[in-house]
C-alpha cells in the first residue's frame, strides 16, 4: 500500500495514496465539513462546503474530490476557507424553511450542526422563498423539497447501492429538485438508508416521522436478526416511553458497510406487537390457556417431562430448537437436553427464502440469524436421534410423547403441515417458548413467554461465521423472561442444570471452552463489531 505524508492544518499525517482531504482530515483530527460526500457513495463534489486551501495554490479545491499528494499542506483554518464555507452555508439556507423545531432531522441534522458551528446567524436574502409541497415518494419516505440541499446522496444510494434509478435529480438551476421518475415510487428495499444519510430533513422515514426527537433516544448497538447477514444496527430506544422507535444502520465494513434493508429497519415493530406473549400459561388438556406463575409452569413441565422420560425413555422426547436463538441459548439447549438429559432428538427448522440481490447489497436467503452458530454448537440430532421431519412423523405416529419448541411459527416451517398438526395434537406434552403467538403456541400445553432480540443480551453467528453481540435494549412490560433464563430454569427443574443463573457473558465463556470454533472469543474480543469464528477466520471477507 503506497502512502503519502501530508499536513492538514499543520498536523502531519500519513495516509494511503489517493485519500481525499476529508478522510485525511479525519485522520489528522481536523473536521473538513461535508454534505454530499459519503464514503460509500461516488464523489459528486456539488455541495462545496468542503472547500479547502492548498498551500501554494491560488484557488480553493473541493476536499472530497481532491486526493492529497506527498508533501501537500491542506489548510482549513484560513480566512479564505472560512469565507467560502460561510458563503455556501448562506446559499444553502436562502430557500431553506428553517423549520428545525418541527423537522424530524432536528438534532441530528448536518445542516443544523454546521449552521450552529460556522453559519451566518442572519440571512441577507430578503425575497420570498421557493416552496414545494410534501410528497410521498414510496420506500416509506416523505420528501420535503424545501429542506433539500441537493447533495444527491439519495439519488446515488438508489443508483449505486440498490442499482435502481427510482429517484433522480430533475429540473435545473434554482428549480432543480429531487423527485421520482415519471410518477414512479421508490420500491427498493434499501430506500430506508436514504433517511439515514440525508444530511437534512428532506427525506424522512414515515415510520419515524413525528414519533420522537433524536436527542430523546438512547442508541443501543445491536444486530439485525431477520436474516443470516447479521447487519449491525443501532436501536433507537426511547427511555421515557420504554419503547423502541426506530432502527438505523450501524457501520461495519466487514458486514453491512453503512446500510441495512428496510425489513431490518422495521424489525422493531414486532417487539411492540399487541399480541405479544407476556405471561406463562398452561391449559392442562382444556382449550384456552390460563395464566400461571413461572414457578408453577416450570415445575409442572418438569414433572410431566420427567414422567415421560421415565416411562418411554429419552427417545420419546423431541426438542425443536431454533436458529433464532443466540449462541448462548443454543449452547444451553444442547447442554441441558442433549448432553445432560441424553435426548437425541434435537434439530431446528431451516427457513430458506430466495435472496434479494442489489447492486452492492444482498438480503440473504436464510431467514435465521444464527444458523451458523446453531450448527457449530451442535443443534443437531445425537446418535440415533431424529431430525426435524422424522421427529414430526414419529410424534404424529405416537412414537414421541413430548415436544419442546424453543420458537414457534407457522406449521409448514416444521414440515408437512398436516403431519405437524397431527404431531402437535398427538403428544402428551407440548411446551413452546416464544415471544409471539403462532399456530404452534396455540396448540401448546404450556407457553413460556420468551423475549425478542431487543430484550435480551446475546450473540449471533452470521452466515460468514462472524460472531456479533446484540445488546439488551430494554424490558417489555409483562411477565416475560429471557430465553437463556428460561432454559436454565427448566434445566434446574429437570435436575439437568445445577449452577445458579449464569448471565449471557458467563454462558459465552463456557461455550467458548466447550466448542473449539468459539475458542479465543469472549465479549471483550467481540466488542462492538464482532469477530470471526476460529474456523471462519479465513473466509470472513468484506461484504
Amino acid at each position: 500500500m503506497a502512502t503519502v505524508k501530508v499536513k492538514v492544518d499543520g498536523r502531519e499525517v500519513v495516509v494511503e495514496k489517493g485519500t481525499n482531504m476529508i478522510e485525511a482530515g479525519k485522520k489528522a483530527g481536523v473536521l473538513v465539513p461535508s454534505f454530499c460526500y459519503h464514503p460509500g457513495l461516488p464523489v459528486v463534489g456539488v455541495c462545496r462546503i468542503c472547500l479547502c486551501e492548498v498551500e501554494g495554490r491560488p484557488k480553493l479545491v473541493a476536499g472530497c474530490a481532491t486526493p492529497v499528494e506527498e508533501g501537500m499542506h491542506v489548510i482549513t483554518r484560513s480566512a479564505k476557507v472560512r469565507e467560502a464555507r460561510r458563503a455556501v452555508m448562506e446559499f444553502l439556507l436562502i430557500h431553506h424553511p428553517l423549520d428545525c423545531p418541527m423537522c424530524d432531522k432536528g438534532g441530528e441534522c448536518t445542516l443544523q450542526d454546521y449552521t450552529i458551528m460556522m453559519g451566518p446567524a442572519h440571512s441577507r436574502f430578503e425575497f420570498e422563498k421557493t416552496t414545494w409541497p410534501e410528497e410521498d415518494v414510496g420506500g416509506k419516505l416523505i420528501l420535503n423539497k424545501n429542506r433539500c440541499i441537493l447533495c444527491l446522496r439519495c439519488v446515488n444510494l438508489c443508483k449505486e447501492v440498490a442499482g435502481e434509478d427510482e429517484i433522480a435529480v430533475l429540473g435545473r438551476g434554482e428549480e432543480t429538485y429531487i423527485g421520482t421518475v415519471a410518477g414512479r415510487k421508490i420500491t427498493n428495499e434499501l430506500a430506508g438508508n436514504i433517511a439515514d444519510i440525508c444530511p437534512v430533513g428532506a427525506l424522512t422515514s414515515k415510520d419515524f416521522r413525528f414519533r420522537a426527537r433524536p436527542w430523546e433516544l438512547q442508541p443501543v448497538p445491536s444486530v439485525c436478526t431477520l436474516c443470516s447477514k447479521g447487519c449491525n444496527t443501532s436501536v433507537g430506544y426511547h427511555p421515557r416511553r420504554n419503547e423502541i422507535v426506530r432502527i438505523t444502520a450501524r457501520e461495519n465494513m466487514d458486514v453491512n458497510q453503512w446500510w441495512i434493508c428496510d425489513r431490518g429497519r422495521g424489525g422493531f415493530h414486532p417487539v411492540h406487537a399487541p399480541d405479544r406473549l407476556t405471561a406463562p400459561a398452561g391449559r392442562n388438556g382444556t382449550p384456552g390457556s390460563a395464566p400461571t406463575s413461572w414457578k408453577g409452569a416450570t415445575a409442572a413441565i418438569a414433572l410431566s417431562l420427567r414422567a415421560i422420560l421415565t416411562r418411554h425413555g429419552q427417545t420419546s422426547v423431541g426438542v425443536v430448537a431454533s436458529a433464532e436463538l443466540t449462541n448462548e441459548e443454543c449452547f444451553l439447549t444442547r447442554s441441558i437436553f442433549r448432553d445432560t438429559l441424553g435426548i437425541p432428538n434435537l434439530d431446528f427448522p431451516a427457513r430458506p427464502q430466495p435472496p434479494v440481490v442489489y447492486k452492492q447489497f444482498t438480503i440473504e436467503g436464510d431467514q435465521n440469524p444464527n444458523t451458523r452458530g446453531a450448527r457449530a454448537i451442535g443443534i443437531a440430532p445425537g446418535p440415533q436421534g431424529l431430525g426435524l421431519a422424522d421427529m414430526m412423523r414419529a410424534a404424529a405416529e405416537g412414537g414421541i410423547h413430548a415436544l419442546i419448541f424453543l420458537r414457534g411459527g407457522p406449521l409448514d416451517r416444521f414440515g408437512d403441515p398436516a403431519i405437524v398438526a397431527r404431531a402437535l395434537a398427538q403428544v402428551e406434552l407440548l411446551v413452546v417458548v416464544d415471544s409471539h403467538p403462532s399456530p404452534v403456541s396455540e396448540r401448546a400445553h404450556w407457553i413460556l413467554p420468551g423475549v425478542s432480540f431487543a430484550e435480551r443480551e446475546g450473540t449471533y453467528t452470521n452466515s460468514k461465521g462472524r460472531v456479533q453481540r446484540a445488546r439488551k435494549v430494554f424490558t417489555v412490560r409483562g411477565d416475560t423472561r429471557e430465553d437463556w433464563r428460561i432454559l436454565q430454569d427448566l434445566g434446574r427443574a429437570l435436575g439437568a442444570w445445577t449452577t445458579d443463573d449464569l448471565g449471557p457473558e458467563q454462558i459465552f465463556q463456557r461455550l467458548a471452552l466447550a466448542h473449539p470454533a468459539f475458542s479465543g472469543l469472549n465479549y471483550t474480543v467481540l466488542g462492538e463489531m464482532g469477530a470471526p469464528l476460529a474456523a471462519a477466520k479465513a473466509d470472513v471477507a468484506v461484504g
Binding site: V43, V44, G45, V46, C47, R48, I49, L51, K59, L60, A62, A65, E83, A84, A87, V88, E90, F91, L92, I94, H95, R124, F125, F127, I149, L150, V169, G171, R172, G173, E174, E175, T176
Partner: protein
C-alpha cells in the same frame, strides 16, 4: 488569401458556399490531404507553433490541448466539436456551420487525425436545426467523396463524423457538460481533474474544440504556422470572426485579425452607433464578459489585452450599448440568463445566480436599497471561484462589472426609486 482578404469567411458570400463543389473549387480539402500525408505529431506541432488559441472563449492553446491526449492507450479517442454556441451575443459559429460547413468538417477531420480519433461528434445546439441539417448534408457529401468514413483519401485513416443535437442548455457548451450530454446524461459539468484529454467521452481521451477553432486548422496546415502566427499581436494570433450586435448600424459577423481595436470594429465594420449616439458600454465577448464603459473601448480585441483591462475576450462578439440603455436592466437580463442556464448542480451557482437576478430586478424596479448593492457584490464574490465549472464565474463577473462600473446609475435607481432611463431597449 482570397480576393476579399478574408480567410475563414472567404467564400461565405458565394452562392452554394455550403457545397462540396464550391469548397473544393477554392482549395477545400487540400489541407486534409496534406495533413494525412504527415505524422499526427507534425500536425500538432504546426498548430502549437501557429499560436492558435481556442475560439470558444477560454483561449486555451489548441495544439497544447491536442498534445495532452495520450499517445499510448488502448482506448479509442474522440474529437468533439463544440457547436453549442449559446451565449447571448455570440453567433459566429452559426455562420460557419451554415455557410461553410466543409471548412468546419475539414478542420474536424484534421484535428481528429492529429489526436488519433476515429470518431468525431459535432455537438450542435438544438435551436440550430437548419445548421445541423446543412452540416449533415456536408458530411454526406464528404462521405460520398471519400472524405469521411473509411480510408479517407486512400490514406488508410478512418474517421466517422456524427452530429449530436443538443436540447437547449447553455451549460452543454461547457466541455464536460457537452460530453455528459453526448453520453445521454444530464448536462452537468464534471469535476476536474481528470480532464477530458485523459478521461472524456465514454471515459476515453477526448478533445473538445470550438467550431471556429477547427475552421482555422485547415488554413494553418495549408499555409504554414508562420503565416498564421504573423497575423495579430503576439500570443493572440490568427484571423478571427467578430459577431457584432447591439446598437450598431450594421450588426453581423465580420472577419478581422486578432487584436483589431474595438472602436475600429464598431465604427468601421459595424458602421457606428445609430444616430451617432454615444456608446455607454460594450460587452466585449459574450454575456459572461464584464462590460467595458464607453471610455474603455480603445482596446485591442484579443485575449490578453481584455484580460488586462479586467474583462474577457470570450468569443469575440461585442454587444454595443448606447446611452439609452439601462445598465441595471442589462445586468438583470444577463443575470436572468445565467440563473436560467445554471445546471443547478453545485450550491454557489444554483443559489447565487437566482439571488443576483432577484437583487437586480429589485433595484431595476425601484425597490432597491443601498445595502442591496453591497449584497449584490458580496454574492458575486461568494460565487466566484467556488463552483465546479466556469458558469458560476461567468454569472458573477458581468453582474459585478455592471454594478461597479455603473454604480452611480445603480444608486440613481435606488434613490429615485425607479428606473431613470426607462425600460431600455435591451430585452
Amino acid at each position: 488569401m482570397s480576393a476579399n482578404g478574408r480567410v475563414l469567411m472567404a467564400t461565405v458570400d458565394l452562392p452554394g458556399s455550403h457545397t462540396l463543389d464550391v469548397y473544393r473549387k477554392h482549395g477545400g480539402y487540400e489541407a486534409l490531404a496534406t495533413a494525412l500525408s504527415k505524422q499526427p505529431d507534425e500536425i500538432i506541432d504546426v498548430v502549437k507553433r501557429s499560436g492558435l488559441r481556442g475560439r470558444g472563449g477560454a483561449g486555451f492553446p489548441t495544439g497544447t490541448k491536442w498534445g495532452f491526449v495520450p499517445k499510448s492507450t488502448e482506448k479509442p479517442k474522440y474529437m468533439c466539436v463544440n457547436a453549442d454556441e449559446s451565449e447571448p451575443g455570440a453567433f459566429k459559429d452559426r455562420l460557419l456551420c451554415a455557410k461553410d460547413p466543409h471548412q468546419v468538417l475539414e478542420g474536424t477531420l484534421i484535428g481528429s487525425y492529429a489526436i488519433g480519433a476515429r470518431r468525431a461528434y459535432i455537438y450542435i445546439r438544438g435551436e440550430f436545426a437548419e445548421e445541423a441539417r446543412i452540416l449533415q448534408a456536408a458530411i454526406d457529401e464528404a462521405r460520398a467523396a471519400g472524405l469521411v468514413g473509411k480510408n479517407i483519401l486512400k490514406s488508410g485513416y478512418d474517421c466517422e463524423v456524427t452530429i449530436y443535437l443538443g436540447a437547449g442548455a447553455y451549460i452543454c457548451g461547457e466541455e464536460t457538460g457537452l460530453i455528459e450530454s453526448i453520453e445521454g446524461k444530464r448536462g452537468e459539468p464534471r469535476l476536474k481533474p481528470p480532464f477530458p484529454a485523459l478521461v472524456g467521452l465514454f471515459g476515453c481521451p477526448t478533445v473538445v474544440n470550438n467550431v471556429e477553432t477547427l475552421a482555422c486548422v485547415p488554413h494553418i496546415v495549408k499555409r504554414g504556422w508562420e503565416w498564421f502566427a504573423a497575423i495579430g499581436p503576439e500570443r493572440n494570433t490568427g484571423p478571427k470572426l467578430y459577431g457584432l450586435s447591439g446598437h450598431v448600424n450594421r450588426p453581423g459577423v465580420y472577419e478581422a485579425p486578432m487584436g483589431i481595436p474595438l472602436r475600429t470594429l464598431i465604427d468601421e465594420y459595424g458602421g457606428g452607433v445609430p444616430g451617432g449616439r454615444p456608446i455607454k458600454g460594450v460587452i466585449p465577448g459574450g454575456a459572461s464578459c464584464p462590460v467595458l464603459t464607453g471610455e474603455e473601448i480603445d482596446i485591442p480585441m484579443d485575449f490578453d489585452s481584455l484580460t488586462r483591462a479586467g474583462s474577457l475576450f470570450g468569443t469575440g462578439t461585442p454587444v454595443v450599448m448606447d446611452d439609452t440603455t439601462c445598465m441595471v436592466r442589462a445586468a438583470w437580463i444577463t443575470a436572468r440568463f445565467f440563473a436560467h442556464e445554471s445546471c443547478g448542480q453545485c450550491t454557489p451557482c444554483r443559489e447565487g445566480c437566482g439571488w443576483l437576478q432577484r437583487l437586480l430586478w429589485k433595484i431595476e424596479t425601484g425597490n432597491g436599497v443601498e445595502r442591496d448593492l453591497d449584497v449584490l457584490l458580496s454574492v458575486t464574490d461568494q460565487i466566484e471561484g467556488n463552483t465546479i465549472c466556469a458558469l458560476g464565474d461567468a454569472a458573477a463577473w458581468p453582474a459585478r462589472g455592471f454594478a461597479k462600473k455603473y454604480r452611480d446609475e445603480f444608486l440613481r435607481h435606488i434613490r429615485e426609486k425607479r428606473c431613470p432611463i426607462g425600460s431600455g431597449s435591451l430585452h
